[in-house]
Amino acid sequence: MSDEVDTAVKMELYRITAERGRVPNASELSEVMGLPRNDVIAAFARLHRRRLLVPEKRDPARIRMAPPFSGIPTAFPVEAKGKRYYANCVWDAFGIAAALHSDAVIPASDGYTAEPLTLQITDNEPVPQAYVAHFAVPAAHWWDDIVFT
């Protein structure tokens, strides 16, 4: 039973995020889905244990990360489908274009100099650039502090 609720909560969360460009909280999902708010929060917690969502530490009714989407503005905005989304990192910025199956423009910046570096996905490919991504954390430790990763 909880698996069905978790899937329903996850799907509605992603549907609203894709449609509106922002991640809904437990109250919004409760109202849309006709579920008790505490049931939605409990689903958030189970989905977190499965590493599918990351609730805010101090407010489990809000979502910090619904990969590839960020629940808060970040340095990785993604312009796609006429909306602005926020990604958790450069990988997730590309991930939003992949999840939406959409062209995208990503007005990012250099992680050291802050120089603007614009990325673009067109026709299911990145526009070639010599930029690089640097993974500071090995895969075995990504979830030790997923927000930093």
Binding site: T7, M11, Y14, R15, A18, R50, R51, L52, P67, P68, C89, V90, W91, D92, F94, G95, I96, A97, A98, A99, L100, H101, A108, S109, D110, G111, Y112, T113, E115, L117, L119, I121, E125, P126, P128, Q129, A130, Y131, V132, A133, H134, F135, A136, V137, P138, A139, A140, H141, W142, T149
Partner: protein, 75 residues
């Protein structure tokens, strides 16, 4: 993970942060990872790749070794 104009700015960031230099990924590799990870994320059956699947995904874009192994304890 962060984006950099070049290897030079990666090195400067690592020095400033007192962090070791880790592998660099091209945009083409990153896009292939993003598609594999997320292209079905808005569908009901989507899930994160399991650990062994992750190793295969990374290997398919040329990323191998313990850094890319979620079960590795070499770090």
């Amino acid at each position: 993970m962060l984006l950099f104009r070049s290897e030079e700015t990666v090195n400067r960031w690592c020095a400033a942060q007192d962090r070791p230099r880790r592998p660099l990924i091209t945009l083409e590799q990153l896009w292939r990872l993003a598609v594999t990870w997320y292209e079905n994320r808005l569908t009901p059956g989507s899930r994160r790749p399991a650990a062994d699947e992750m190793v295969n995904v990374f290997s398919s874009v040329g990323l191998t070794g313990p850094f890319w192994d979620p079960k590795s304890d070499l770090w």
